[in-house]
Amino acid sequence: MLDVRGLKKVYEGSGRRIEAVRDLTFTVGAGELVCLVGPSGCGKTTLLKCVGGLLAPTAGEVSLSGRKVDGPPPGMAFVFQEYGRSLFPWMRVGDNVELPLRQKDLSRARRRELVGDALASVGLADAAGAYPWQLSGGMQQRVAIARALAYEPEVLLMDEPFAAVDAQTRADLEDLVRRLWRERGITILFVTHDIDEAVYLGERVIVLSASPTVVREQLRVDLPAERDQVHTRVAPRFAELRTRVYEQIQAAKRGAATPAKADMPPSG
């Protein structure tokens, strides 16, 4: 479904050369929910932007259903961490959700239906007439998720979407993502720095190394599909997986401190 092969991204500017992503290869199958987790500053956002066609990779390629991604593909929707800046304050919630649909060739009635349905799925059926800034942070992120759902994407990319909301809201939103994934069968690539979140949400967790980034390990999460905040998080298997990912991340950080120095890119 989603194929990332040999992805490399180097930022160059004003005499500095920063290799953000070195060599990433992984796939996400149709209908899978995959979490990408890595130490902070490891180029997760860069990676996701390359996957979403917002940034052009320096080398390697991304393909969606066999087609090369060289710009934002129509079958992909993006949920950003900064919901407050990603939603347009000059549009009401309903219009925010509808705007991407206006670029598609859909009838007015169909657009209305999609907007109503998407807002209902995130529990905000009666918020269509409000402005985003009249809602709480968690509700705003729900609107951003509804906007992505209404777009009917094959793949949903989520870039640390819950990093800026409080812990309780975060738990609710995690359950929301699990539920939507199961109900709608969308493919989700979810980037996070939170190990617990990655294990709780994902069917598979890809652990990234520190920058310059490579895939360190891929882990299948063999927890039951039916998960809940109370029981799943105290299950022994959850603790094992969590510990495993945690160790990998710690090793990634240490690994970055010593050998990476040797192959630092030449300066200038």
Binding site: G52, P74, M76, L99
Partner: protein
């Protein structure tokens, strides 16, 4: 609080008018050149019954509105084009910085040479002065586009035109509104200046006629009218701004959820 402020404002104005009445009457200034408030009010009363006054007011407003409309339209279109087309902003920056500080009144001789005392003379000066106000604000406003909003729009497949319409324009709108408000005030100043100096028909020309014919209270009455016009224009521009920017944090105030 609001009522108190309004009352204070009214009291201040009344005090000022009373002062204007008292000072000439007490002989502190020459009454011939500074007529008391009541005589100015009298002259104003006579003016507004004169059809020629209304024609002059209409001429001034025509020059103001047409000039402002041209300046705003051109300022917005050129500002957006300069920002959207790569390298154009950098290529034009120095030229803009050179042309912008030229005082519009310095173009009066040119306007007279080109168009004499026609409306077009007034328009030339009004448009030149107010165009820069709008253009500069548009250029700043466009630069304010949030990269996250821009990326959101791109990720959802919005094309260039859709991004201008739904992201760039609403972002720039608060700046554009400020530009229009400033331009509206400047346009009035230039319209009256042009009429006064060039003699194009309008309030300014009428003020000049009143002055040369020693009709001092009438002259003051016309100046008062020009002031009221400026006041109305500013109030009008502000209310348009509030309506158009109801969503903006400068207008909406704090919202509690």
């Amino acid at each position: 609080m609001r009522g108190v402020n309004a009352a204070l404002g009214a009291a201040g104005l009344a005090g000022f008018l009373a002062l204007g009445e008292a000072v000439p009457r007490l002989g502190l200034v020459e009454e011939d050149y500074f007529p008391p408030t009541s005589r100015i009010a009298d002259a104003l009363g006579t003016e507004i019954t004169d059809p020629a006054f209304w024609t002059a007011l209409g001429d001034t407003l025509t020059g103001w509105a047409l000039g402002l409309a041209i300046a705003v339209g051109a300022g917005i279109v050129i500002g957006v084009v300069l920002s959207v087309v790569p390298y154009l902003r950098e290529a034009t920056a120095s030229t803009i910085e050179f042309l912008r500080p030229i005082p519009s009144v310095a173009l009066i001789p040119l306007a007279v040479l080109l168009y004499g005392t026609e409306l077009r003379s007034v328009l030339l000066l009004v448009v030149y002065a107010s165009f820069w106000q709008v253009l500069i604000q548009v250029l700043y406003g466009v630069r304010d586009v949030d990269p996250v909003a821009e990326e959101t729009a791109r990720s959802y497949g919005l094309g260039t035109w859709a991004r201008i319409r739904h992201v760039l324009w609403p972002t720039a709108l608060p700046y554009v509104m400020t530009g229009v408000r400033l331009a509206a005030a400047v346009a009035l100043i230039l319209a009256i200046t042009a009429e006064l100096v060039i003699g194009a028909p309008g309030l300014g020309a009428r003020i000049a006629v009143a002055q040369t014919s020693q009709a001092v209270p009438e002259m003051y009455a016309l100046i008062v009218v020009a002031g009221l016009l400026g006041l109305l224009i500013n109030v009008g521009a502000r209310s348009v701004e509030r309506r158009a920017l109801a969503w903006h944090q400068s207008v909406r105030g704090e919202v509690t959820v």
